[in-house]
Symmetry: C2
């Protein structure tokens, strides 16, 4: 543990927030926005996955899906939809689908044959409570249900079917062997390896983290009726904050305690995982994070700045969060 405490600092956030985080004139109450949206998302998820027969599998799905979490991905989806002119109800099925995918990836990543984690969001992991077999199945079930939910709950009177098909394709690409799975498989391969470079580290995080954040934003933009140009700008924005998310996570992992994080701190060091602080040092990691947030925000320059506030605030939140 001495190597961990050696690089621990006293500051609260991974990188220093600017004096005045939000530069625009009208104030934006980010906390109230997040609480409101997260509540809507939670309610929609609660209604989407009910406790029906066979109860055990639905209980396992609900256990992880409704465990809380900050709902960053679904809120990003809704915010992107609203930015291009859509509304919350139009985005909700896609937003819920993205959260289902996020949850399934956590359940499977935590399995004994993968990262073997006992704790997630301060609670025992899914397989610890329901057993490995049910945890694998709960993940499979959330994965397929995400697609069922988009396909059967997106309002076809507001979203042309062709856009729903496009959203399904985008979401699927985010998950598979060119998305989350690619990241996890390269991550597993790199554990304990001595020759992992920055390229490989970025590959892992782009695929494990950034792709799903990208999916969340892109799906919101698609179902919201954004133009191809809108979708591509928002894709770049999301890629940037996706990578930022992981850089900040890595910095927090070495600077915060387990209690503050709600998961085992320093685990990346113990497990011999490569991280940004390990590869480039903690100061260079912070500089990198600063550059990522700046470039991400530049993508939003062409949009209505009033409507862009939630996404700007979300980017700030990801950069300056404390856990």
């Amino acid at each position: 543990m001495s190597s961990i405490s050696a690089i621990m600092t006293k500051q609260e956030t991974a990188i220093d927030p600017p004096e005045n985080k939000i530069s625009s004139s009208t104030p934006f109450n980010f906390e109230a926005y997040m609480v409101k949206k997260a509540k809507s998302v939670h309610k929609a998820l609660d209604m989407a996955v009910t406790l029906k027969h066979p109860e055990k599998i639905h209980e396992a799905m609900r256990y992880s899906l409704l465990a809380g979490g900050k709902r960053v991905r679904p809120v990003l989806c809704i915010a992107a939809c609203e930015l291009v002119g859509g509304d919350e109800s139009t985005a909700m099925p896609a937003a819920c689908a993205v959260e289902m995918i996020h949850t399934m990836s956590l359940i499977h990543d935590d399995l004994p044959c993968m990262d073997n984690d006992d704790l997630r969001r301060g609670k025992p992991t899914n397989h610890k409570v329901f057993g490995e077999d049910v945890a694998v199945l709960a993940g499979d079930s959330l994965l397929s249900f995400a697609f069922e939910h988009i396909a059967t709950s997106t309002p076809l009177d507001k979203v042309p079917a062709r856009q729903v098909v496009r959203a399904v394709g985008e979401l699927a690409r985010v998950i598979g062997a060119e998305g989350l799975v690619a990241g996890q498989v390269v991550d597993i391969d790199s554990e304990g390896a001595t020759n992992v470079g920055l390229d490989q580290l970025e590959f892992i995080h782009i695929h494990k983290t950034a792709k799903l954040l990208e999916g969340a934003v892109v799906l919101g933009a698609i179902v919201g009726g954004g133009s191809d140009e809108d979708v591509e700008k928002l894709r770049k924005f999301a890629r940037g904050i996706g990578l930022l998310f992981q850089v900040v996570d890595d910095i927090l992992d070495v600077t915060k305690s387990s209690e503050e994080l709600g998961k085992t701190a320093g685990k990346d060091l113990v497990a011999d995982k490569v991280t940004f602080p390990k590869l480039m040092g903690i100061e260079k990691s912070r500089e990198y994070a600063e550059r990522l947030i700046k470039e991400a925000k530049e993508q939003l320059a062409g949009f209505d700045q009033e409507k862009a506030k939630p996404l700007i605030a979300l980017a700030d939140y990801i950069a300056y969060r404390q856990n």
Copy 2:
């Protein structure tokens, strides 16, 4: 092993085929049809999942996906599409998606934490070759890729986007907590239980086997442009042959050797799994199978009988197969 050999018989098929299996006047070369269609499906799958970076995961996906198998599900999908007036190329993405789902369910069911099988189609199971972690991920990847493939490869100039959305919803329902997963979770629960009844056994098999066969046929009918009435008739047909498939599987499991089956015979008895022969005896199981095929074929009565031949022959094949 004495209990297994006691109920072994010498006949080649699970139930007695009628003298003249196909009653219509023009002969139909089922074997040639199957070989031709299975070859097209294999080629399409081979092209859909190529060996790209990260290679290990794509290799694992291809290992199970291209392991052979009779391609009953994708051929059912194509045959249903052709019956309602579509063509093979229209059905192919859906047909491949169904086979990807079938393959992922086998990979996950074989895992040590599930059925713990070492052998599948005469080859070592996926986790035996690639490790448990990669096997879980290969399954996840095939599951999401099935949706990507339908969404991005179905020709939108032939199939209205709304029908593609409907197909995605149908396929997803077949997999999750109301489909394959529901069957597997109730199956796991019933192992070693003493009070498993016919209702529960049928629930398991309808969900583990019949649902995906139903999905195959229904997806074919949807992308082929079938009317709602066509789709529902074909759904009933598929449900019947789906249950038939499992009844025949159970009979074969107690009457054939491992070598003939290409998997461990008598495994259901050893694992204390409930089966139709165990619950109703081998003769009553055969009678049940006879009734199921008769009722399934009745659903095809209203269609062009020439075009219905492949589906009738497929039903016969499922009933009278030897492994």
